[in-house]
Symmetry: C2
Subunit: 419 residues, 2 copies
Amino acid sequence: MSESKSTLYDVGDGMAGCGPIFPEGGFEKNSLRKQVFEHVRGNGSVARSDIARALSISAGSVTGIAAELIAAGLIQEIEDPDREITVRGRPPVALAIVPDSFHVIGIHLANERHSAILTDSIGTVLAETTHSACAPKRPVSDLIDEIILLVTDLLKIAGMALNQISAIGIGIAGLVDHTTGTVAWSPLLSEANVKLAGTIEARTGTPVFIDNDANIVTLAELWFGGGRTNSNFAVMTVEHGVGMGLVLNNRLFRGARGMGLELGHTKVQIGGALCRCGQRGCLEAYLADYALIKEAASALDLTAIGTEKNTMERLSAASKSGDPAAQAIFENAAKYLILGLANIVQLFDPGLIIVSGGHIRYDNLDNIDLGAEAHKLTLNSNINACEVALHAWDGLVWARGASALALSAATDYFTRESR
Amino acid sequence: MSESKSTLYDVGDGMAGCGPIFPEGGFEKNSLRKQVFEHVRGNGSVARSDIARALSISAGSVTGIAAELIAAGLIQEIEDPDREITVRGRPPVALAIVPDSFHVIGIHLANERHSAILTDSIGTVLAETTHSACAPKRPVSDLIDEIILLVTDLLKIAGMALNQISAIGIGIAGLVDHTTGTVAWSPLLSEANVKLAGTIEARTGTPVFIDNDANIVTLAELWFGGGRTNSNFAVMTVEHGVGMGLVLNNRLFRGARGMGLELGHTKVQIGGALCRCGQRGCLEAYLADYALIKEAASALDLTAIGTEKNTMERLSAASKSGDPAAQAIFENAAKYLILGLANIVQLFDPGLIIVSGGHIRYDNLDNIDLGAEAHKLTLNSNINACEVALHAWDGLVWARGASALALSAATDYFTRESR
DNA sequence: AAAATAAATTTACTGTCTGAAGTAAATAAT
DNA sequence: ATTATTTACTTCAGACAGTAAATTTATTTT
């Protein structure tokens, strides 16, 4: 009946290539040129005949498109190292992405520190840097200076120039309109409705794409993590706040008007706990790190010394050494985590939910079968069980997701029709 | 700041044409043939030059496509009755759908009664019929017999034969997989995983399309109701149960695996009220008709005599004549309705939510600004307020929605490429 | 009647992709 | 060794969807 399970894995799945692995055919009417490029990138190295079969297109088209992509310097023929020589017939010629055909930068802007990476066209990280940030709520001009500094530093490390960068992707906490590149609101900015993408584009002369942190984490999963082999999955992020991202048909779903998926502020109790947004009964108010720390401060002797991370670690240690109050806090949070998962399943029906975040490291969630528990709270327990995976990330995931944003845009650009 | 408002209107908006009115261009890569057809149908009567401007395509293409559609008997040139003769230049020639170019049937299957309509290609109802049903949980063969009887009756009334019907759309309560045409579970059926569409297709020789009741109500809004002018909106249905439908970019959103949007069974309270699904804390358990009736039975002297509708009417009368218990019941339900709306806004961010259902007739919701109330429970109150509209439907809406399902499929068929 | 204007049509052309025929390079059978 | 078979890849004519520009048509204004 129920086949749900929880797994804990790390970014980087050891598979060849990067980017989502599209199932045969592909639903959307992307140009064949782009489809072929993405198929090669997704699979690492494939022969023309494989591409034709996988995408259900004619062999002639593949030849023509491959020739164009080779001429453009985007892909190349390679010696396939692990080819079976036992089959007869003309041996296939493997195609692979030319890694240094273009480069992109991915940037994550956060309260405490900014991180940035520089990758080639298959997402290999060539350089990375981290700058600490302190002043919250600064004017735009200050943040832009920080970004430029970050980029300059990164380029110096990589030994490259700005004009060698095809696109810059930026992830920032807050409300971001991806289509217009504006930040409606952010904890980092003292101003509202900032046209951040446009401004940086003007400063750098490079196309800039921007999205919120939940979406870039989701993109990181789609491009480099557990979502690669799934066309439909959700990501639930539990850190300082609670967020989510959704991938439908290998594409990021951003809600009807680009501002949805605020899972942390869906109401799970009328007149419930007070949330930092000022309202009551938000899921976040029962589950996010800051909510647990608030509880810990009143129930235990954990006063607010040290960082959030530090406090969470102490709370976790107390729980593991048998402190009943600490255990109760984590148990209650787990209940609400499961409730959140169940509501995601009920509304979006994904095949996989990746629970991503910092405090799941401290929680003793390994002992709980989250998938089975969430399943108990959903309708029709006998069909379509949803897999739940835990994913404790490292600090680079945000920047990697931002680089995926840039990679995706650069891919569109280089594989567009009638170049 | 907040510009939300609640309005009460009825199906049938008095506008020309039917079907969603697509904004210029159109996002998807539908064939121009289909785009032109849908534009003509959506606007009632338009000249070729208008089409070219509206869809941003060349005039030559419109000429060619219009010629094909005219040759196929799908559209025709008409005398535009209200044309302004004051403009100089060659007068435009209006194009319009040929109403009897094809016909479809829409069927709604429910616990108490089935209804069916027969419409032409612009959705005009040419015949309707209603059969009462009683036995719940019957075998598939019985239900199919009922459907065949319904169709036979309908065709007799319309004076038409089965081979004149291009498609049949069916709406049924339960869990329906639209893509495969199977009913995973339904209160009407004693069996599970029934390939209903295929079986009826075999019996009638006509293409059959099937979806659940929430989706066909949403389709009814998209094709004939308040959603026609909105590309993105949600429908929340409150009747015996609580459901929802979502339209994104003029298309029905069915969740990642076709089984999402079960708003009624999202949890809004841990360990809360017992729902008919057997779990606790479902939104439905606080809001659906059956939940209110259960409360009424214990708090008032309203024993379960008569139909659900009858009981709701008596509860409503008690509330309006000042009974505090009845008023409290409605007030509590309204709170949860608003909570449901807020969660929809938070997750999907639609521009419009249509609240559709029977008991909103009895509730004194007219006095509440639902949009404003829901807005108070959502993040970022100053931007993107969501409009909330009440829509008390009549009994035919379900069948109309089912006919839209058929109309949509027939349109695809007749306007497909290389006929 | 001539000029102006707008709608619709025709024509030549482009880009994308397919399908069929042909070529290339390997193994298996004789 | 030679031939057959198999599979991979290439070439090329053509279908098809669509555009852009020139042309024809129908009407009003001057």
